[in-house]
Symmetry: C2
Subunit: 258 residues, 2 copies
């Protein structure tokens, strides 16, 4: 099987000109088949503010009412996605922007309302990669925005980390998939106060202990849950790193171990 | 060669819920390979207004400064495009939204400044359809937003009629292409006061006469120039019709004849 690298980036790195430029350069140099999955929350929040749409977050998750869905569809699917695509094209990387609605790539259901009504947020149900594989095999590089659809005409806002891991799992039937999550630290830290205390190999057992000891917490937990889920479902490697390490040493950072 | 139908829609029809629904239904029923090229000017103008970005038009063309480019990239590439894509997916039409930057489909140059500075408006230089043909042959239906790129990282606002005709010409090397322009009238009228005075076959000679007599004028002229250019460059048929005729009789309206 051929290798496929899936890089998930979000946060400041895709939203500030300098770091974006470096990221696109480093990403364009990754050899072989690859996919970029992006976020864009800060841009969405900024655009929402300009439009007078209130941003409500619960435990780091965006509440997506109709007005906010319009904002994220525009910002993720239009503004951020096309900035990445045109930037990669300038580096001779034949990028193809898409959401989960395009080519019916990712179907989701609107999250059922329990204690919290997240609004138009999608929980992924199905990933169909047949057409995607065809374009990947032509050398095209998909750039995926964090949006899905329900198959009934409704776009849904969907967590980019989850999109990356679900895509990785679905594509592991046809490729040896390396999934790389970029975030603001060099990796998972054994001491949250020390940015250099990167755990190079994180086993599931160590992860459980670190969660109990609150060494690993907050936004890192869903990211790692997604990562371990990918590992258990056929993905060859999952790495957590900082975007500026993509170029020099994509294997630095924290590697998950089952 | 296989047949390919390219439908260009714009104006109110894609921007009002009822007409959009009917359009997507009728388009989804067109048999065989097909592409939808869309506009979205009214939505862009409305969003620009909400953002306090001034809309300036010269002879029906939008002046696209940096702030307006951001608006059209979001609105055409995100909001309108994904509404069409998710709507078509709901009708079991496997749509794939894209701009000219995606898969390097359409390269353009920023229009040189002469009397008027149109800003970030692209004049099409090159259409590359190799990867597009691969996905069309898989049964995927491209939905193309009126945006291109310059190959150096810059998105450019580009007239949707021109995108439709340039795509039609490029794809006529591999398909028998039928290009259908939808607009607000049933076809080209011999009497602008009489909506039923549709010219069923418009020869180039008749077109020149009608232009001289001011029977055909304004926005119809670039549309027809694009249409005749397509006819001269290998496109099998060009039809001007109203969107609500797509379903019942796609061949009604005005057909161009060389």
């Amino acid at each position: 099987m051929e290798r496929l690298t899936i890089v998930k980036v979000g946060g400041k790195v895709v939203e500030e000109e300098d770091s974006l430029k470096a990221l696109l350069f480093d990403f364009s140099r990754i050899s072989g088949n690859k996919i970029l999955v992006h976020g864009g929350g800060r841009s969405a929040t900024a655009m929402a503010e300009r439009l007078g749409v209130e941003t409500k977050m619960v435990e780091g998750r965006r509440i997506t009412d109709e007005a906010m869905l319009e904002v994220v569809t525009m910002v993720y699917g239009g503004l951020v996605n096309k900035k990445l695509v045109s930037g990669l094209q300038a580096l001779n990387c034949n990028a193809m922007g898409m959401t989960g609605a395009d080519m019916d790539l990712i179907r989701a259901v609107k999250r059922p309302v329990k204690e919290i009504d997240y609004g138009y947020v999608g929980d992924i149900m199905d990933v169909s990669t047949r057409e995607l594989e065809t374009i990947i095999d032509q050398g095209v590089v998909p750039v995926v925005a964090p949006l899905t659809h329900d198959g009934k005409g409704q776009m849904l806002n969907t967590n980019a980390d989850t999109i990356a891991s679900e895509l990785a799992i679905a594509l592991s039937h046809h490729y040896r998939v390396n999934l790389v999550y970029c975030f603001e630290k060099k990796g998972v830290l054994s001491n949250p106060e020390d940015d250099d205390s990167v755990i190079s190999e994180l086993t599931y057992e160590l992860y459980q202990d670190a969660k109990e000891d609150k060494v690993i917490k907050d936004g890192m937990i869903p990211k790692l849950d997604n990562g371990f889920s990918a590992m258990r479902n056929g993905v060859e490697s999952v790495t957590i790193t900082r975007a500026d390490q993509l170029g020099s040493n994509i294997n630095s950072g924290t590697r998950l171990m089952l």
